[in-house]
Subunit: 334 residues, 2 copies
């Protein structure tokens, strides 16, 4: 284990109660490591950050055009969404265009991430469906690709299925990790996930934002994805979510996505940069504080932007009664 | 930040996705550090591990005898319980003996930790009460002390209240941290929590289990607390909980308690030992794997006991669909 001084402190009262260590890598679209901290070669899974890359085959294949997917629907394909009404409706809309319904989604069901939506559903006695699963957009996009290819929708989650092989190809090419060397696991929603050193994931995001060197069809798909999430950031996550706020606050200058187990990947398209930060222990509570602090120190966020994101930068900690008992603060110098 | 090689790995597929670092200290009842790993002087809050120590004044004061608290009720005073029916009933019983009811508890309400109990309540349309709060036993014990002292039950959570001053005195004396040097914060349930280096908390547990050198009234209270949780381990936590299983599997040879933010403290009374382990980042999922692994390597758990605790030692990780996608494994040598 390498030591890491890139930390986020969780304070209770006057002392640090717990500490999160983070690893980060900033690269350009040629893959040069411009800045690293912690263990900048940390190997882990991209988890849901890969969704923006996994949307590429949905567009490149012609599936998105054939079924008439709009920008909000494309943004939803990239989302770990809140399960709010607009997300559920957009997922239903994609499936409807395919002649499918929520029964085709194999992502499983969970309560909406958005607490007020979940609470309202409970009060109405409604049970969450696959449409509420935060991954329903990604799975709907996979089904669009599946329908376009004429492949079986029953087995679309399997690695051997043509849909997943196209996902693997896209992630491999964008991250410069040969398919044979890609680490594979199973995601929270059942589909394959991709493991790689964090600079490679950062490279994929640098290329997503600055695809000039890529083949034309891929470059076009990259631009369409970035444009879609810039236009509809609320479809990438939702109310009170950092991913959505980051795009809004920077007016689209930065486009980024969280993933489970404390990972964040982003592109700064006009600067040709890709950036990944991983909380070593996987805890989400340290993720946004660390990302904002790093972007601030790398001069990628302005002071007013950091102020607008203060609730994500140094969130307060509350107890069962709602009393403020502590605060989370990044504590590192890059 | 000191480096730490005392880690727990969270695997997904074939690779480590996230890593938890742990700090630990083993001491004897004289406070000598017999074994340390990670940062063995790590400063943090005792959180709910202190509940066994905080039960001391309830007994020493005569409150427990005056109100006729039984051993199950004393064990509940030490608990972060599951909110199962027997826990709720025991808390109600304590309050009834004081002439109080659940309205006197200021701990707030949350759903029972025990998922089937919480699910059954939701299905019956029942709202959790203060009795279901995992700390309702501790708070009921505090109210018993309060009633015995003739102090106001309205303000029993405040640091200046005689009840909290007796808590502070007991934790201070048992841990050898002068009251003026005790770090103080507010717990999840609203009462003061106590911050100290982990060897001091381990010392408090060594003394709890081996109180021969303490004043007679305190030694007697220590023995009564240890006897109570040995007799009623299910009242210390509940079904499917490690604290309860550890006592059962070792037939009371080890008595330990978890606390929020990934801390565990235990006594091995017949060997005069106290032990504390803290997950640096506060994540509970690494706590029991690390505690069991450390106890195994310190020859404090036998191989058959470790086998009986396997589900806590190397728990599997499942996704939304219930598919096994990974495993948590300690990876260190003391």
């Amino acid at each position: 284990m390498k030591p890491s001084n890139t930390i986020v402190r969780v304070y209770r009262g006057n002392i640090t109660e717990s500490i999160h260590r983070v690893h980060l890598a900033l690269v350009n679209a040629q893959g040069a490591l411009l800045h690293g901290a912690g263990d900048p070669q940390f190997l882990t899974f991209a988890r849901s950050t890969a969704k923006l890359i996994q949307a590429l085959p949905v567009i490149e294949s012609g599936a998105a055009d054939r079924f008439g997917l709009g920008d909000a629907e494309i943004a939803l394909c990239c989302a770990s969404h809140n399960g709010e009404a607009e997300h559920v409706n957009a997922a239903r809309s994609i499936l409807g265009k395919l002649g499918f319904d929520r029964g085709h989604l194999q992502c499983g069901a969970h309560e909406p991430y958005h607490a007020p939506t979940a609470q309202a559903m409970r009060e109405r006695g409604e049970t969450p469906t696959t449409l509420h699963n935060n991954c329903s957009g990604k799975h709907s996009g996979m089904l669009a690709l599946c329908a376009h290819l004429g492949a079986s929708p029953d087995t679309y989650m399997r690695l051997q299925h043509p849909v997943q092989q196209l996902m693997l190809e896209a992630v491999s090419a964008m991250s410069d990790i040969p398919k044979s060397q890609m680490e594979l696991g199973i995601d929270g929603c059942g589909v394959p996930v991709f493991g790689m050193p964090i600079p490679n994931l950062a490279l994929a995001f640098a290329r997503l934002g600055s695809p000039e060197g890529l083949p034309a069809a891929r470059a076009n798909a990259c631009q369409r994805i970035v444009a879609a999430v810039r236009k509809y950031p609320q479809f990438l996550a939702g109310h009170d979510r950092f991913d959505t706020h980051l795009i809004k606050v920077t007016q689209g200058r930065i486009v980024g996505k969280m993933g489970a187990e404390g990972i964040f990947a982003l592109a700064v398209p006009e600067q040709g940069l890709g950036f990944v930060l991983k909380v070593e222990d996987g805890n989400q509570r340290a993720l946004y504080p660390a990302v904002i602090e790093a972007l601030k120190q790398l001069n990628l966020l302005s002071a007013p932007e950091v102020s607008e994101l203060a609730a994500f930068h140094t969130p307060t900690v509350h107890n069962w009664q709602g009393t403020e008992v502590g605060i989370i603060r990044p504590d590192f110098q890059l």
